[in-house]
């Protein structure tokens, strides 16, 4: 080794890859969170989707990010975790 070295320009953090939870075998008794990212027509998409889910006898609960230009606030994420088992996040334009 010549002793030549460079300083690390990165955050020096290692990403932790977590396995995705397996989808539930059955939706009976589950609650589906419908998260609108607040883009135009996100609500329209959710309005079309929600009755289809409910028709299958599955409970839904609606959430909405304050703005699509920024990440969801922690509070919304925590509320979803606390109240639902499955999330549908809608990107729409």
């Amino acid at each position: 080794m010549s002793g030549y070295a460079m300083r690390d320009p990165t955050a020096e953090t290692a990403a932790v890859l977590r396995e995705r939870r397996p989808p539930p075998a059955d939706l009976a008794g589950e609650t589906v969170a419908l998260l609108s990212i607040s883009k135009e027509r996100s609500d329209e998409f959710m309005d079309a989707l929600e009755p289809l889910i409910q028709a299958a006898g599955v409970k839904t609960i609606r959430f909405k990010k304050p703005t699509h230009t920024k990440p969801a606030p922690d509070q919304i994420i925590q509320d979803i975790v606390a109240s639902a088992d499955i999330v549908v996040e809608a990107l729409a334009d």
Binding site: M1, S2, G3, Y4, A5, M6, R7, D8, P9, T10, A11, E12, T13, A15, T67, H68, T69, K70, P71
Partner: protein
């Protein structure tokens, strides 16, 4: 009582003072002579050679000769530098010291302060400690290829961030290397001044660019800039830096011919360093969280300065609240550059009408208040306004008048599926049923460019700008210049 004298042979004043040093020895004073260059200088006085200059660094020598007096506890009591007969006599207590010498002769610069050496000594002495992980490069490896392999680059080669280069970069700011500038999205990781400096080295910055780079980071991290959203958008946009004030001239930024193009180191590397920080510190990479459908070449670097050479012109930073004469940075969510060519308009009103046609195409000609824009007025177009007695206020007002369209004709479905919604038409229409193209404050006018052509440029803004309560350009005064 003990004395240390630091000298170098390549200094006429040190040579002049040699007899005085000999007198001090002859008078029985305890004197150590430290020579910076020639090990045997001065002959016969048994000097000690400060070969690595670490002792000079530790003693904070700036001028040679320097004579330092220590008290019996070893603490420094006083020092004198250069040759001054009275001062040397006072510090040594020898009333006839240097009788044959002139009264005064200024000293020379110390070798330890030679440009490039000071930072080496700061590292070697441990005064400057770098905290980033040190990545060894094998003898047979090319550091530039190592940087590619590690995913550190934007696709172009980088300057390897060695300790010495990083130390020299850090000399460009008075901020401490471990000071946190802010949390860089998307991973919201703290960016220290040192991390910024490492990326600035890689981008090719000179140390004097660092304050503007740090100012740009601070501006981009204001919540209203929505840097996270700008990074992950499907749209073309990337961060664009506009410099204002004395610092832009001092560091040689280009505000003239080809200001939006290649060839100027400050423009090229400050913008690039910013993007490398987003990539490397924040973890924002294309194909990952950067979801751009096409992107645009300004995402490598997009940085220029405003032409402030006309005292009649109100610079962008001043129009946005920074005091005249202060240096500032404006961050804008920029799509690419669209050329505007009009060689026929000869008066301000006609030119405004013409510019409005081009400006209406930002985002889409049938959308209103959908994205912001920067109008870069080049000198020959600006001259038409100036000849007509128009300054910034008149140009802004003239463009505002010219940028109104009937809401009814823009409604979605009115001739084309794309358009403003009825709700937008309701919200945006004035009493005459007209809508503005831009949100209030959404059109930024800046002067740049070279003479010779009746042309200007429109830089369209990110579609995220349609939410002007959430997404706005940011202008900040540079605290350190």
């Amino acid at each position: 009582m003990r004395f240390v004298a630091v000298i170098k042979e390549d200094c006429p004043t040190c040579k002049l003072a040699v007899p005085a040093l000999a007198e001090m020895r002859a008078a029985g004073l305890e004197l150590e002579i430290v020579t910076q260059d020639e090990p045997a200088f001065p002959r016969g006085l048994a000097p000690r050679h400060d070969a690595d200059l670490l002792e000079s660094h530790r003693l904070k020598i700036e001028i040679v000769p320097t004579v330092i007096l220590y008290d019996p506890t070893g603490a420094e009591q006083s020092r004198t530098y250069g040759w001054n007969k009275a001062d040397w006599r006072a510090i040594t207590g020898l009333s006839s010291l240097g009788e044959s010498l002139p009264e005064n002769q200024p000293g020379c610069g110390a070798l330890n302060l030679t440009p490039g050496i000071a930072e080496k000594l700061a590292l070697a002495s441990g005064d400057l400690k770098l905290h980033a992980r040190s990545i060894p490069v094998a003898d047979d490896a090319d550091p530039i290829e190592v940087a590619y392999d590690r995913g550190w680059t934007d696709g172009l080669p980088i300057v390897p961030p060695t300790d010495l280069r990083v130390a020299r970069m850090l000399a460009g700011t008075k901020r401490r290397p471990d000071e946190t500038i802010g949390l860089i999205p998307p991973n919201l990781v703290a960016c220290t001044v040192e991390k910024a400096a490492i990326n600035a080295v890689m981008a090719g910055c000179r140390p004097e660019y660092l304050p503007m780079l740090i100012g740009a980071i601070e501006a981009a991290l204001q919540p209203e800039f929505a840097m996270h959203g700008l990074l992950c958008t499907l749209a073309f946009s990337g961060p664009m830096i506009i410099g204002n004030g004395p610092v832009t001239r001092r560091i040689g930024m280009n505000s003239g011919g080809n200001a939006l193009g290649q060839g100027n180191r400050a423009n090229a590397t400050i913008g690039r360093a910013f993007q490398l920080i987003i990539r490397n510190v924040g973890g924002g990479r294309p194909g990952e969280i950067d979801r751009a459908v096409l992107g645009q070449p300004g995402k490598y670097t997009f940085c220029f300065a405003e032409d402030e050479s006309d005292p009649d012109w109100v610079p962008l930073s001043v129009a946005r609240g920074v005091a005249p004469g202060e240096s500032a940075v404006t961050m804008f969510h920029a799509d690419g550059v669209t050329g505007f060519v009009d060689q026929k308009s000869r008066d301000p009103e006609t030119l405004c009408q013409s510019l409005a046609m081009q400006l209406w195409s930002v985002s889409h000609p049938r959308l209103a208040r959908w994205g912001n824009a920067v109008l870069v007025l080049a000198p020959n177009h600006y001259q038409i306004f100036k000849d007509g007695g128009w300054g910034r206020a008149e140009i802004e007002a003239g463009l505002h008048r010219a940028l109104k369209r009937p809401a009814a004709g823009l409604l979605e479905g009115a001739g084309h599926p794309l358009g403003i919604t009825p709700a937008q038409a309701e919200a945006y229409s004035d009493a005459d049923g007209m809508v503005d193209k831009f949100h209030p404050g959404g059109l930024l006018i800046v002067r740049a460019g070279g003479p010779g052509g009746l042309m200007s440029a429109v830089i369209g803004g990110w579609t995220g700008g349609r939410n002007n309560a959430e997404v706005r350009p940011v202008t900040r005064k540079l605290e350190e210049i």
